[in-house]
Amino acid sequence: MLRRLISGDTPRSTVLSIVLLVILIALAFAPFLFPGTRSVDTAARVCIFIALVASYDLMLGYGGIVSFAHTMFFGMGAYGVALASIHMGRGFDALLVGSVAGALAAAALAFVIGLFSLRVRAIFFAMITLAVASAVAVLVSQLSSITGGEDGLNYKIPRALTSAHKFMDDKLFGVRINGKLANYYLVFFGSLILFLILLRIVNSPFGRVLQAIRENDFRAEAIGYRAVYYRTSATCISATVAALAGSLYAIWLRYVGPDTTLSFEIMIDILLMVVIGGMGTLYGAVIGATIFVVAQNYLQNLMGIAEAALGDLPVIPLFLNPDRWLLWLGVLFVLSVYFFPTGVVGRLRRRV
């Protein structure tokens, strides 16, 4: 049963299995294990980024396709939910319509980009995605009457998903059983399902073909696989999942803006997460997203503590100033690439 759920793709390393299990349990019970708005918010981001990074890895790690438009697809799902919620009024129907519309639009755009550019060279595809993603970002910030421009959009989501709605008067294990908790579990199970679907796809006959094409597209064609169709399909699936992750993000944040979904910084974050976790294995997305999002949210705190503790020493506190957190993230990244060139998962799976 469990094997079927994870599509027979076992972690193949005891340490990795344990780490994955710890992450799963931590996320499944996050509101109870780490109560507090900030930590639950971090947990929700981890869930969403796991799905997002896994969808990116389907393209990059399995398909060998480099895309810079992943945040654009992510944003399409998010803006879909936002626009539907604004124009249809708050409601689950708006969330559903927005998510489906965003996903379809993302798939359609991915299809067009893929069919036109994947025929040619991989680098051409990368450039086209960069151009389209930049154009869309500019468009979104210009069309402020529709998209809210740089300010983004605030909107209402169903009460049943907000803290205003209480399911029980009493607390359970010290946690309020309210709409916010329901919202978290929507994000958690939504991301989990997206992840399991991706895991199934990469372990399906289709996933095998993608791997074959990445290995040797010339021979894959010579045994009858049309590489463009497979690459384009992978791109569409990846875009669809990214859009759905974006919808979950929009539902969680009740806000969309260029900074939360479309920005090029997030695109770079995704790339870093894939590389840190390990390309070509979806479990890498889990590890990469968890490490990265947690570091992003807590490195500053950690540094603040360290700065206070070492405040008396010369020079050192200068480096530990919380404003330097990006520097340390960079150092972490360089170190992880240096010590784990195949990502954390690759390292853990290495045969000794």
């Binding site: 079927r4 599509s7 027979g8 199934r200 796809i201 372990n203 399906s204 006959p205 289709f206 996933g207 095998r208 073909v209 791997q211 074959a212 290995e215 040797n216 010339f218 021979r219 894959a220 064609e221 010579a222 045994i223 009858g224 696989y225 049309r226 497979y230 399909s233 699936i237």
Partner: protein
């Protein structure tokens, strides 16, 4: 033995000013094994590339069962029944031997767009792949990663992939090159076995005259890209073109 399955008409390709294949008009009948010979650089591999679609012709056309397939991309020609093994080993190096063969079976059975089933649960594909490994004497290497295999074994896998594809027209490009003396006969036996089924048409590029003499129904000679001779083995081997252009070189090699 009479009906034509494959035909090339004035097939020509130029690379810059160099004519690599020069107006080759030739027909291949169902069930026939045709050996293609010619010195290095004669255009044999290029002729194959034109038939299987890796490169497109500057002039002329390729017809399969009367249909002009010159404009079709490689995978569509595969669907129609043109299969190819390469002179330079061309495999999936980081996958296992079994995975390599299974990919071919999966393609043949049109299972590639199966997104939501587990590949491992398709035992029928695995079994068919194992049968091919058995036939090609590769069963012992089933789970080895291809790039870790010795060259000769990789060459054998190259042939195994074509056998797994089981096309209408088999094209072997020097299948025994680089094989040891005990590996080569295995492959030649396989080709002989394929030949026994008269629905298959085989094109074989091979340098070893003794091999061709017994295996082939017919020999064609390419020289500087052009068709220089065409006929029964004994006749062609004895002809002047072959004696000059080809046997001379083979004798030097020996």
């Amino acid at each position: 033995m009479s009906d034509t399955v494959l035909e090339t008409r004035d097939l020509t390709v130029r690379f810059g000013g160099h004519v690599a294949v020069d107006h080759v008009t030739c027909t291949f009948a169902t069930g026939e094994l045709t050996a293609i010979v010619g010195p290095n650089g004669a255009g044999k591999t290029t002729y194959f590339n034109l038939i299987s679609g890796q490169i497109s012709a500057s002039e002329g056309s390729v017809h399969l069962k009367g249909r002009d397939i010159s404009g079709l991309p490689v995978p569509e020609r595969v669907d129609l029944g043109i299969g190819r093994a390469f002179q330079l080993t061309n495999l999936f190096p980081n996958l296992t031997v079994l995975e390599n063969v299974r990919l071919v079976i999966q393609s043949k059975r049109k299972k590639g767009f199966n997104l939501l089933t587990m590949a491992a649960s398709h035992t029928e594909l695995t079994e068919a792949a194992e049968a091919v490994l058995e036939r090609t004497n590769l069963a012992a290497q089933r789970d080895q990663i291809v790039h870790e295999l010795p060259h000769g074994t990789q060459r054998k896998l190259e042939v195994a992939l074509l056998i797994a594809l089981d096309p209408i027209v088999y094209m072997f490009d020097e299948p025994t090159a680089g094989m040891s003396v005990d590996e080569a006969p295995v492959v030649l036996d396989l080709i002989e076995e394929l030949k026994a089924d008269t629905s298959r048409t085989i094109l074989l590029v091979e340098h070893k005259m003794d091999v061709i003499g017994t295996l082939a129904d017919r020999i064609i000679v390419l020289h500087n890209g052009a068709l220089a001779a065409d006929g029964p083995p004994a006749e062609v081997i004895a002809s002047d073109v072959v004696q000059e252009a080809y046997m001379g070189r083979a004798l030097e090699d020996a």
